[in-house]
């Protein structure tokens, strides 16, 4: 479904992403992990059109999407959430979800989708609150709801668990599984190892801009290269 080939992103002298290739199949949940500064988020931005790739190509359902504007990518059925929630402060939950659904639907239908999406992400009782009135977990839920309402084939999740308590994290994990069962594909960047191990079908590990390992969660955690980049010197000290 999503296929990145030798994607590089250069910021001045810094090569933030260096020839990363990654494939995500239909209906999969793929995790992307790595220490801070490994280039996960930049890779993400490149795939979703928010940052220009320096070289390489990205295809979504066969179509080239590198260098394509994010709103066009969204129209193709690939959308993203943001690490730091990006809500519309003065819009209500209903208006936010309606606006998101409008990408594919006329207004009347978009309004219906807004209501059903709100139910899905457990914001059904908060339809008429403005986004700035929501708590952080609710804003995170809305972040996913916004992505859902555009009726995507695939969602890129950027650290949706950050800042959530364990009980709230469980909720979000359940939600993602639900959505996968409805046929949506996920690429998930996450810091929380417990969550990503339980959630992903496959995991890719990035370190200093490169993809280091890719495989099943059980194999990845045992891989010496992964242990090294995560624990490095501390591991040797121990």
């Amino acid at each position: 479904m999503l296929s990145a080939r030798d994607v590089s992103v250069q910021f001045g002298g810094l090569r933030a992403v260096d020839k990363v290739s990654l494939d995500v199949m239909r209906g999969e949940i793929v995790g992307l992990i790595g220490p801070n500064g490994a280039g996960k988020t930049t890779f993400f931005q490149a795939v979703s059109g928010f940052v220009k790739t320096t070289s390489g190509e990205v295809r979504f359902c066969g179509e080239r999407i590198d260098g394509v504007a994010p709103e066009r990518i969204c129209r193709l059925g690939l959308t993203r959430t943001f690490q730091i929630v990006e809500v519309f402060p003065s819009l209500t939950v209903r208006e936010t979800l309606t606006a998101a659904a409008l990408v594919r639907l006329p207004l009347a239908e978009a309004r219906r989708i807004a209501v059903s999406t709100a139910e899905l992400v457990r914001l059904g009782g908060k339809l008429d609150l403005t986004c700035r009135q929501l708590t952080l977990p609710d804003q995170k839920a809305l972040e996913i709801g916004k992505a859902m309402a555009t009726q995507p084939r695939m969602i890129l999740l950027d650290e949706v668990m950050a800042g959530l308590r364990p009980s709230e994290t469980d909720e979000v994990v359940r939600l993602i599984r639900d959505l996968r069962d409805r046929g949506i594909t996920f690429l998930v960047v996450e810091h929380n190892m417990d969550v990503i191990m339980g959630l992903s079908d496959r995991i890719a590990v990035m370190g200093t801009g490169r993809k280091i390992v890719e495989g099943r969660p059980d194999d990845v955690v045992r891989d010496p290269k992964v242990i090294e980049i995560y624990l490095g010197a501390e591991f040797e000290l121990a």
């Binding site: 709103e71 208006e95 606006a99 207004l107």
Partner: protein, 332 residues
């Protein structure tokens, strides 16, 4: 969709609005001129609010659109005898082209809001200088419309007719902005205003919608320019093309409540008559005092109600509702 945004429910304000605007029909001629001026500013504020408020793009270049409307219809009328009833649409078309071009030029480079405001000020100044020095446009003397006094040429003997014409403009503009607010265009524009990155991510073609907002706002403003020219029977750069009028439009809208449907109605409705009254009663002894009062009001509003009078009212209403809700829960 249930109405919870910073808009009051639709019926009440419409009734108040109609009562207030119909009252001057029973008044003396001095008052009707003030009423016409008030309605003109309401109309211009509603037009500006589409791009400056709903879409959140602080454009200070609206004098260009006002002048485009006024000069186009006036020139077509004086040079070719074309009625301003048609000329106004030519002016609107010209203003739309200028507006869309300015938006495209500024936003494709993703100018931050302050730079956009400065760019539009610069363009407005250029427009003013250009108009003041082109002989065909009457340079700084301006152009006077020949008196024909026939409705077919958009000229009326009675001020009441001008009053009705601008009232229709206002009703149409408010209806348009109400309709915009809750449909796709309005939702997209408000999304762009609130958070451009997030708007991109949900598939909003941000640049195209900013251009659209400028186009609509520019066209409406130009129609107001034609009206103003027909009402004054002349056009000249200081009234139609200097940024003074834009600053007044922005100020009145901010006091009323930027980005709301009723803010640009409430602001001018209160302040234009108050300003005229101040100027008449104190203008002799203290010239310019109404500007001083405007300035102070602006400071007070920005300090205590950054979302304007309409925003403050809406918050008060919500707080009252919330308290009533708490009381109900407590008594249950």
């Amino acid at each position: 969709m249930r109405d919870t945004s910073p808009l009051a429910p639709a019926v009440g304000p419409w009734l108040i609005f109609l009562a207030v605007v119909l009252a001057p029909l029973a008044m003396s001629s001095g008052w009707i001129n003030i009423a016409i001026l008030t309605l003109l500013f309401i109309y211009l504020c509603v037009a500006w609010n589409i791009v400056g408020g709903i879409a959140g793009q602080f454009c200070i270049g609206h004098s260009l659109f006002l002048a485009a409307g006024a000069y186009t219809s006036t020139l077509l009328s004086t040079q070719f005898g074309i009625t301003p009833w048609l000329g106004m649409f030519a002016g609107a078309a010209l203003a739309t082209v200028i507006g869309i071009f300015i938006a495209w030029l500024s936003f494709r480079y993703e100018l931050p809001p302050l730079s956009f405001a400065l760019v539009t000020i610069a363009l407005a100044m250029l427009g003013y200088l250009a108009i003041s020095s082109i002989d065909l446009l009457g340079a700084s003397r301006g152009l006077t419309l020949p008196v024909r006094g026939t409705p077919a040429m958009y000229q009326f003997r009675s001020d009441v007719t001008y009053y009705v014409v601008i009232l229709l403009h206002v009703v149409a503009a408010v209806a348009l902005s109400m309709w915009l607010y809750h449909t796709k265009i309005g939702l997209y524009l408000r999304a762009v205003r609130d958070n451009e990155r997030a708007a991109h991510a949900i598939g909003v073609p941000v640049l195209r919608y900013k251009m659209l907002a400028m186009g609509i706002s520019a066209a409406l403003t130009a129609l107001g320019g034609t009206f103003y020219a027909q009402y004054l029977q002349y056009v000249e750069p200081h009234t139609f093309a200097s940024i003074n009028i834009v600053i007044q439009i922005v100020l009145l809208t901010v006091v009323g409540g930027t980005g709301t449907v009723w803010g640009p109605v409430v602001g001018p409705m209160l302040l234009v008559p108050a300003g005229e009254w101040l100027r008449h009663s104190l203008g002799g002894s203290l010239p310019g005092v109404h500007l001083l009062v405007y300035g102070m009001l602006l400071v007070i509003v920005i300090r205590f109600a950054p979302d304007g009078l309409v925003g403050a009212l809406e918050r008060a209403r919500q707080a009252w509702r919330f308290r009533r809700g708490v009381k109900e829960v407590a008594t249950q």
